[in-house]
């Protein structure tokens, strides 16, 4: 198990370096125009030249990447080019907000998807059809449409929840709950059906396998078979789709964050990308890749736990 984790960590680090180097080169593809973009339409050519020098844009790309990477190793991700805020300061308040939104959503998706998927697989009939139809509808309605509908009804008209984030320091758990309810509901409604569909299929496959028939013939209760054996066998499929959804949400939460004005990492990333604020973009890339690597590691560990065969393969 230890060597499995170590192997995973090493490949994670390699992945991190490769992605950062690639992202850095791509971002600088049209590097010469950044100084002008920062200073805007009133700046003189002299100021633009000075800005390029200040930002180190007059140095070759590999040198700049080396500086950035050595800084990143010591925890110094540089400063925003559009202000003078450090990248770490910009990220430190935003990463937890996005992670809370994403983790709470995914946990709820996991719970509801398991219940719905299992129910559909076992009961079949109308429950199954409902889940199937729900999957199609859930896929068809974009998350932002749901979000806008929710905010219009429950925030602007009924005033039950804040229309935009009211998260602030020390606001207490109630403000967090109030601010995150509508965004989380929007995400869960949008994501739960796809996972439920996966779990449904996996449960059906498991229930038809020989060992289940053997267990049943030995007189084990349906309930015990389901909880101890079927769900365990179906879990990897569920975990895989959930981890994919988690990674997707790290980027996909952008739209939800913008609609509800949640001060998460998505807004920061979009603004920085549009502006060409490369230190911020690289900071976001770095954090996101690290989180993705950790999530994948956790999912692999969970799968290994549930199914020892995974560990040796």
């Amino acid at each position: 198990m230890i060597s499995f984790i170590i192997r995973r960590l090493i490949s994670g680090v390699i992945l991190l370096v490769v992605i950062c180097a690639l992202a850095y080169s791509l971002l600088f593809f049209n590097g010469s125009s950044i100084a002008r973009n920062i200073l805007g339409d009133q700046a003189t050519p002299e100021q633009v030249a000075l800005k390029e020098q200040q930002l180190g844009l007059d140095q070759p790309l590999p040198v700049r990447f080396f500086h950035w990477a050595t800084g990143a190793l010591t925890g110094d991700l540089g400063r925003s080019w559009f202000g003078t805020l450090t990248v770490s300061d910009a990220l430190v308040t935003r990463v937890p907000v996005t992670l809370t939104l994403v983790i709470v959503s995914i946990v709820l998706v996991a719970v509801f998807a398991t219940i719905l998927g299992t129910a559909a697989a076992i009961k079949r009939g109308w429950v199954d059809r409902l889940v199937q139809v729900g999957a199609i509808v859930g896929d068809a309605i974009p998350g932002f449409v749901l979000a806008i509908a929710l905010v219009t009804i429950f925030a602007v008209q009924l005033k039950l929840f804040p229309a935009v984030s009211s998260i602030s320091p020390g606001a207490g758990i109630d403000a967090w709950v109030a601010s995150l309810t509508l965004p989380v509901v929007a995400i869960v409604l949008n994501y739960v059906t796809a996972s439920a569909q996966q779990i449904r299929s996996a449960v059906i496959v498991q229930r038809e396998r020989d060992f289940v028939r053997t267990l049943r013939s030995r007189g084990l209760g349906e309930r015990e078979i389901l909880l101890k054996h079927v769900l365990r066998g179906a879990a990897p499929a569920g975990l895989t789709v959930l981890s994919l959804q988690f990674v997707g949400l790290l980027g996909g939460a952008v739209i939800i964050e913008r609609i509800f004005a949640i001060p998460g990492i998505g807004q920061l990333a979009v603004d920085a990308t549009v502006n060409g604020d490369i230190p911020i973009v690289m900071g976001v890339v770095l954090y996101t890749v690290v989180i993705v690597i950790i999530v994948n590691l956790l999912v692999d560990l969970a799968n290994g736990w549930l199914n020892p065969k995974v560990r040796t393969s």
């Binding site: 125009s33 602030s168 320091p169 967090w176």
Partner: protein, 513 residues
């Protein structure tokens, strides 16, 4: 046993989520509530973006200036109608050839960290602004040196006259930070000015809301109308609309498509508030990319081909005013009679094109800037009607200004600020202007521009001649001036517009009733 494993896995996930939630909410005080009427109370504004640095050298105009006004005083105060009145400087005087500006300063002002405001502080700030090379660094491009005459007198020496300098001293360049604080790390995240409010960092969330409390003993209580100011930043117009509809902010800026919703919700809107104009800048007047543009008749034909009122109705839903000139009505360089110079006349456009030797029209490449697709499409149609074939090339937001400066586009459709005459000339017309990348000029025009530069108090009046010249020469094909849709809850706050500023100055808000 296996069941336990699964339970602990789930528990681990749960704990992670809980840690994330607790971790975020720990460490701070209570949030601010919005609303408030009468005197004092809280003003909550929905803004587009908060400053990325509180170092005054990084301050910006319009949207960017407003948050700075909460915590910083400027040397001069710009009244809502644009006149300049004393603030930290009590009086100011140019020398005879307008190359040295001497300011008398208040001697009773301190910064929020206790440091005194004096001539040395002004010198330190102006030098910081120059070396900071921020987004408005061009405001002090003409400043050569600063002389401290005595404790409350300072002289600004210029390399050449700059008729906009006094205006700039009421904007980003005039913001004064504590001399002990500028250049340090802490001022980046926490402003230290002499202004009416101080930031409550414990209650502020970067990227979401900034909270400010009234500063005790502020030297000018007239400018300090609230106990507390909360700035909430929302990038999305929809989020700003939702915020004001649900009562989370008292005033905010919207756009034409959301204006109707605001109106039906009984929100008040500032009237006749126009800060930007849109249209074509016909930059290639020497014809180096598109030879046809070298001919004045062709440029005039483009102007006659535009049905501005239709564009205004269809694109801005009527929220604006069509125009033929680039200087704004508030600038002093505006000439009433110039509007109407190029009333829609496609037949005349065709005739001018034929006279210029282009009876079959010509090809006109235009950059398609993200966000301007709709007006560009409408424009393309109208120009096609007289034979001008627009070829739009998609460009990226992050590169187009640099490409424009490098002279890659013969013309551009964009959104432009309509500022003070000298600001507008240096933005659009002079050989230094970004929107004149081919550096076209004529001796006659240069003479008119020089007259504005050295004109002192007369410079706005003299800029009318520049306006008439470039309008007649059809250097531009303006379409319309755009209404700022600034809405507010009139039962809570009254708001006055600030000319030539995208949002009202922070001093223009007063509790209602």
């Amino acid at each position: 046993m296996k069941f336990t494993a699964r339970v602990s896995a789930l528990a681990a996930l749960g704990v992670t989520a809980a840690v994330a939630v607790v971790g975020c909410s720990a460490g701070g005080s209570t949030p601010a509530s919005s609303g408030g009427s009468g005197h004092g109370g809280t003003l909550t504004l929905g803004i587009i973006a908060e400053p990325t640095s509180w170092d005054p050298s990084q301050a910006h105009v319009g949207h960017g200036l407003q948050p700075f006004q909460v915590t910083y005083d400027s040397l001069l105060l710009r009244e809502p109608d644009g006149t300049l009145t004393p603030m930290l400087a009590t009086s100011w005087q140019y020398n005879d050839d307008n190359t040295a500006l001497t300011l008398d300063l208040r001697d009773d002002v301190t910064f929020s960290d206790g440091a005194a405001f004096d001539a040395e502080a002004v010198k330190a700030n102006l030098e910081n602004f120059k070396s900071g090379n921020g987004r408005q660094a061009s405001q002090l491009a003409a400043l050569e040196s600063v002389d401290v005459v005595d404790d409350d007198t300072v002289t600004l020496n210029l390399s050449q006259p700059d008729p906009a300098l006094e205006f700039y001293l009421s904007q980003a360049a005039g913001l004064m930070g504590s001399p002990a604080s500028i250049g340090t790390e802490s001022i980046i995240s926490t402003p230290v000015g002499s202004g009416p409010y101080v930031m409550d960092t414990a209650s502020s969330v970067p990227g979401s809301q900034l909270v400010f409390t009234a500063r005790e003993g502020y030297w000018n209580p007239d400018l300090q109308k609230y106990d507390k100011i909360v700035l909430k930043s929302f990038q999305e117009t929809t989020a700003r609309l939702n915020a004001i509809l649900s009562g989370q902010v008292d005033a905010t800026i919207l756009d034409a498509p959301t204006a109707a919703q605001a109106k039906s919700a009984n929100l008040a809107q500032i009237e006749d508030y126009r800060v930007d104009w849109q249209g074509l800048v016909l930059m290639d007047r020497d014809g180096s990319i598109v030879p046809a543009l070298a001919d004045k008749r062709v440029r005039q034909a483009i102007n006659y081909a535009l049905d501005r009122d239709t564009l205004l109705e269809s694109i801005l839903l009527g929220y604006g005013k069509s125009t033929d000139q680039v200087f704004g009505p508030d600038s002093g360089a505006y000439v009433d009679d110039l509007d109407g110079t190029y009333d829609y006349d496609p037949a005349k456009a065709k005739k001018l094109l034929a006279d210029a030797g282009y009876p079959d029209g010509f090809d006109l490449p235009l950059p398609a800037i993200p966000g301007f697709e709709t007006p560009l499409a409408a424009l393309t149609q109208q120009l096609a009607d007289v034979g001008i074939r627009v070829q739009s090339e998609p460009v990226s937001t992050s590169t187009f200004l640099a490409d424009l400066a490098a002279g890659k586009f013969p013309a551009v459709y964009f959104n432009y600020f309509q500022g003070e005459p000298w600001v507008a000339i240096n933005q659009l017309i002079s050989t230094n202007a970004l929107y004149n990348p081919f550096k076209t000029t004529t001796p006659e025009l240069q003479q008119l521009i020089d007259a504005v530069q050295t004109g002192g108090a007369e410079s706005s009046e003299l800029a009318k001649k520049v306006n008439e010249y470039v309008t007649d020469e059809a250097w531009f094909a303006p379409v319309y001036r755009i209404d700022q849709i600034y809405v507010y809850k009139s039962d809570v706050v009254s708001v006055e517009k600030q000319i030539q500023s995208a949002v009202p100055a922070i001093y223009n808000y007063t509790p209602a009733g």
